[in-house]
């Protein structure tokens, strides 16, 4: 235990600093490898203590994240809530889950984390607003892209919201599958609106910023910040913020160089692409038809109709592309937190996509020449005991080098629901079968999906049970429903 305390002292920053300015904190000294090693040697003792275990509870609410991590603290268990929201494939259990959490925690949370501004990570804070106002919270951590005191961040979020609102209007008039999926994405960025007012995301954010009973301090973090823990957690856990990339870091990670962000900002200012048709020539004056062209030129293209279809299919859906960029940009704002507790390492990655991962995997802009991941990233992944799989198991949120470096004994939770996004035909289905299989084989089938368990009236997902007949060691579902626990 002495070793553990030593490691804690070294990594926790002085608590006095309130980081609402979004300023970048001094770099925390990284714990050395020896510390991790010795701490791990102590692990069996901690497990033997029974109440000394760490528990992660994954609630099944549909397509969305709702994780409660419980750690043994000085005065009994302390609770950390990481995201609480559902958007697509909502199975209507979120209220029941929040009730369960209220009961388990006695309405006391040592820490609440909002990884990023998407309804499927925050809608619960809005729909169960009144319940949450009765909670006492030690501290709130939010991605610094949502820091209201940072004028650049606020402006960009306003622009994004503006884009999302315009896109939403356009998509609600369309009925094709691409538009329906894009509509989901923009709704996710706004939250489903209540009473015609602003989206529920705004309401959820308001709760986190000022709605909890005891008005806890709110911190806005980015990669490399030294986070502040509440008294309850101090000395019990250490936390490192790995991502999002610091706003003042150079190269591709800097906001000024990020073309996607510039593009979205411009859309927010100037409006989404104009998709109204313009005719370059008056058809009355220039009537044409395929028959006027020699027949043989269409033969190679399997006839003029097939050619028209090929060209038609190549017309990019500028609006769907914008919705996709919006979605990815918000995901990449995800706060990625590495907890160390009892010598165990637990990583929560939010919905981080490639740009976010790249920052801490490579520590620099990926030049394309030789981006082997840093020894530090290798060390983190190689010694990981628990991973919250990113973005509900979509193909874009777990890079292969990360998976390749992952500790083969790591346990994985994936909150997901089938049929909400993507399609198998395009190999974009969520959760992505190939990725799940790769992760499963890497960790010896220690990956558990939220839809494995029955919740409310919703039966376990057949696909999930086919993949995994019985819960692996360490995973339990005490009430045969609603949630799955992993104890370590």
């Amino acid at each position: 235990m002495a070793t553990r305390k030593k490691a804690v002292k070294k990594t926790v920053a002085p608590k006095s600093r309130k980081s609402t300015q979004g300023t970048r904190a001094s770099r925390t000294p990284r714990p050395r490898r020896e510390d991790a090693g010795t701490a791990q040697a102590n692990a069996p003792q901690a497990r033997a203590g029974g109440a000394g275990n760490i528990r992660i509870r994954m609630y099944r609410i549909g397509f969305g994240d709702f994780f409660l991590m419980t750690v043994p603290a000085k005065n009994g268990p302390a609770h950390i809530l990481i995201d609480c929201g559902v958007h697509a494939a909502n199975i209507g259990t979120i209220e029941e889950c929040v009730q369960d959490m209220a009961q388990v925690t006695g309405k006391n949370l040592a820490l609440v984390i909002l990884t990023h501004y998407h309804a499927d990570h925050m809608s619960g804070f809005a729909t169960c607003y009144d319940d949450f106002t009765e909670f006492n919270v030690g501290a709130v951590w939010i991605t610094n892209r949502l820091d209201p005191n940072n004028s650049d961040a606020s402006k960009f979020m306003m622009q994004l919201t503006n884009v999302a609102q315009q896109l939403k209007m356009q998509f609600s008039a369309r009925n094709d599958p691409d538009a329906i999926e894009a509509h989901h994405k923009v709704e996710n960025a706004l939250g489903v609106s209540e009473n015609g007012g602003g989206g529920s995301n705004a309401k959820a954010l308001k709760l986190l910023q000022s709605g909890f009973k005891n008005k806890p301090p709110v911190y806005y973090y980015q990669g490399d910040d030294a986070p502040t823990l509440s008294d309850e957690l101090e000395g019990i856990v250490t936390a490192e913020i790995l991502s999002p990339s610091p706003k003042d870091s150079g190269g591709e990670f800097a906001a000024t160089d990020n073309k996607t962000e510039q593009y979205l900002a411009a859309l927010g200012d100037n409006g989404v692409p104009d998709t109204t048709k313009i005719r370059p020539f008056d058809l009355k004056k220039w009537p044409g038809s395929a028959n006027e062209y020699p027949r043989h030129i269409f033969e190679e293209l399997d006839g003029s109709e097939q050619m028209e279809k090929t060209l038609g299919d190549m017309q990019p859906d500028a609006l769907a592309a914008a919705a996709d960029k919006l979605d990815g940009t918000l995901n990449n704002q995800s706060l990625v937190v590495l907890f160390t507790c009892n010598g165990k390492k637990l990583l929560f990655v939010g919905d981080a996509q490639w740009g976010n991962w790249a920052y801490w995997l490579y520590g620099k802009a990926v030049s394309g020449r030789d981006p082997g991941i840093t020894p530090r990233a290798k060390e983190i992944l190689g010694s990981l005991d628990f991973l919250k799989l990113g973005h509900h198991g979509s193909t874009n949120a777990t890079p292969i080098p990360a998976l390749a470096a992952l500790n083969p004994r790591c346990a994985i939770f994936c909150s997901t629901a089938t049929g909400a996004y993507g399609s198998e035909a395009k190999k974009t289905e969520v959760p992505r079968t190939a990725l799940m299989e790769a992760a499963e084989s890497r960790t010896g089938n220690r990956l558990v999906r939220s839809d494995w368990v029955k919740a409310g009236d919703t039966d376990p997902e057949v696909q999930a049970r086919e993949e995994l007949a019985e819960l692996p060691q360490g995973f339990t579902s005490p009430q045969e429903g609603l949630y799955i626990d992993y104890t370590l």
């Binding site: 048709k277 370059p280 020539f281 395929a290 293209l301 060209l311 990019p316 981006p371 080098p401």
Partner: protein
């Protein structure tokens, strides 16, 4: 040849034989409609004569005016119409779609001709790789993925884009409304047609030509590949401009012969009033040719283009910046080659300036007399044609996969030595210096000297028996089958010596006989052969289910038919391999390259998505070219 029925020739058969003219003249914009006030902007280009159906539809290219945004066709132009034949086609106008069709046809046709002249052979469009050779009967017919006639869609879509698409078997040109602000020379909200810009047409046709020459050349396997394609297409488009005498004259006059100057002298006055011009004619215009080069260099959103590349001292740092921006890196290649071009031009023009100055005239302020401008234009055209030939032929001397800028430098140096061993005007020196100043080196050459950069001549490989060079007019399909089999047999026997895996099959996607005149006036017969080997490499050994990517190796062979030394020797001496230019499949270099490629694909985000899809690892020029 059904289409000959209606052509003028066919009709005249029964009456009087009239020889087909060698060339057809067509009116076009020299630059684009927005450059209207520039006096050399409306020119007539001469393209090879061929009978044309409405479209125009020719032997290699067909214009199909289908608008997929508005789902309609526009009526095709019939250049066989006697009135149009008599007037060199329609006059330049933005308002008539048929002029657009004519211009797209004319510039595409001219670009193809430039390549055919430079390469010494006919070009064809994309061909799918043929596995199994002539024994596989399917290979004799058209395969999915082949393009036999390149389609040009002048108004394919409402989009600020134009791109070559193998899927659509052609080039899609977009049209769009100019921005409400910052519209440059266009009126706010005015319609802009990408199909009316010579450079865009030439640029896109170049992509299609290169894709036809090499089967796997466009697979972006390292940061240089896409940059190379962008830069190369820009170079071809620019040299196509600089080889047009008529549009050069005016620029030469206004730059005092210094073609590389970014500003033109004002039409009125001697520039004394330059700080406060009172009338338009006193405003210094930009050199339209350099401006083009600048616009080309400008990546979307990236304002550092050729202007800085040509206007500021070249440096060796830029090459290591923005490695993921193909346009930016491509512009470095363009700047390097153009630096050399201008240096050689100025060297050749120097005697003319000296003669002129000997009359006691200060050339900086004086207007150039018309005959001098003519001579300078001729000199510039010759130099541009020479540089275009060097660039185009260098493609034959590049490795068939995974090209880097350094390879192109070595290729162009080798070609130049082949074409002009004496090099009195210092073309090679100029090129090497310009590349060196921009930090473009070759990883494979040990020194930065002409000897080291020249690809090493090969002497070890056995001669290739039984290769048929055919007639200069092209191979018969029987000869092609025969050569394909002979080359595959030879390649399989020599896999190890070529750095290829002895256990993997090889394909020979292309072989092209080339006929040129040697210094001694006799015919040099060569064949450019592409040999490819592919395997699927894993993204991760630790995660076997993470998928695979195609890893290719291969060599380009330059094979020469030797001249008999005496009459006693048989005419048929087995052809000798002169150069082997390649990428290995086995050995430490190959391992390194595989690792680099894996990391590159992962860093590009290509490790996700459908890696089994055939097009997954191909360049998407549509994405690359957004926002002209």
């Amino acid at each position: 040849m059904a289409r000959n029925k209606n052509s003028p020739q066919a009709k005249s058969h029964s009456q009087l034989e009239v020889p087909a003219p060698p060339m057809r003249s067509l009116q076009v914009y020299a630059i684009d409609p927005s450059s209207g006030k520039y006096s050399g902007n409306q020119v007539t280009v001469r393209v090879p004569w061929e009978p044309l159906d409405p479209g125009p539809t020719g032997h290699k290219i067909a214009v199909v005016d289908y608008d997929a945004t508005n789902k309609c066709y526009y009526p095709p132009i019939n250049l066989g119409n006697p009135l149009l034949l008599a007037s060199n086609g329609l006059g330049p106008t933005e308002a008539d779609p048929r002029f657009h069709q004519q211009m797209v046809y004319a510039i595409a046709s001219r670009t193809i001709q430039m390549f055919e002249v430079a390469l010494g052979r006919k070009v064809h469009w994309r061909r799918a790789d043929r596995f199994g050779g002539s024994a596989n009967k399917e290979n004799r017919f058209r395969k999915a993925g082949d393009i036999w006639v390149l389609k040009l869609y002048p108004h394919a879509m409402r989009q600020t884009n134009a791109y070559y698409s193998p899927q659509a078997q052609g080039i899609l040109f977009g049209y769009f409304t100019a921005n409400k602000t910052g519209q440059g020379r266009n009126l706010p909200g005015q319609l802009v047609f990408t199909c009316l810009s010579q450079d865009i047409i030439a640029h896109e046709v170049t992509h299609a030509v290169i894709d036809g020459i090499r089967t796997y050349f466009t697979e972006p396997t390292n940061p240089d590949v896409l940059s190379f394609h962008e830069g190369f297409a820009d170079l071809c488009a620019l040299f196509s401009h600089f080889s047009q005498h008529d549009s050069l004259i005016e620029t030469i006059r206004q730059t005092g012969g210094r073609l590389y100057q970014t500003d033109l002298s004002p039409i009125a006055g001697d520039g004394a009033n330059k700080d406060q011009p009172a009338i338009t004619a006193e405003i210094r215009g930009m050199n339209p040719l350099i401006q083009l080069a600048i616009q080309f260099g400008q990546a979307s959103g990236n304002k550092r283009g050729l202007r800085s590349a040509l206007g500021t001292p070249p440096n060796s740092d830029d090459i290591n910046k923005n490695v993921n921006d193909p346009h930016f890196r491509g512009s470095i290649l363009v700047a390097a080659v153009f630096d050399a071009f201008f240096s050689v031009y100025m060297k050749r023009a120097d005697p003319l300036f000296r003669i002129y100055r000997s009359g006691g005239i200060d050339t900086v302020s004086a207007d150039l007399p018309a005959p001098l401008a003519e001579l300078l234009a001729t000199c510039a055209v010759q130099t541009a044609v020479q540089f275009f030939q060097l660039c185009a032929r260098a493609i034959d001397y590049c490795p068939p996969v995974d090209i880097t800028f350094g390879d192109f430098l070595r290729a162009i140096v080798t070609v130049s030595r082949d074409l002009d061993p004496a090099d009195d005007d210092g073309v090679r020196d100029a090129l090497m210096e310009a590349f060196r100043m921009r930090g473009i080196y070759s990883e494979s050459a040990s020194f930065y000297s002409e000897d080291a950069l020249n690809w090493p001549p090969n002497s070890d490989l056995p001669a290739i028996d039984d290769l048929d060079f055919g007639s200069p007019n092209g191979l018969t399909s029987k000869e092609m089958d025969h050569n394909g089999d002979a080359l595959r047999k030879w390649a399989n026997e020599n896999r190890a010596a070529l750095g290829l895996d002895p256990d993997l099959p090889v394909t020979v996607p292309s072989f092209h006989p080339v006929f040129r005149t040697k210094e001694n006036g006799r015919l040099r017969m060569e064949m450019v052969v592409e040999i490819i080997q592919s395997k699927q490499a894993k993204f991760s050994d630790a995660v076997p289910k993470a998928g695979t990517f195609p890893f290719r190796a291969g060599v380009t062979l330059i094979v020469e038919a030797l001249e008999p030394k005496s009459h006693a020797q048989p005419i048929e001496i087995p052809p000798k391999v002169r150069f082997v230019i390649g990428r290995e499949m086995i050995g430490p270099h190959a391992k390194q390259r595989e690792e680099k490629q894996r990391n590159f694909f992962i860093a590009q985000g290509l490790a996700v998505g459908n890696t089994e899809e055939a097009t997954h690892f191909q360049a998407d020029f549509g994405l690359l070219h957004g926002d002209y």
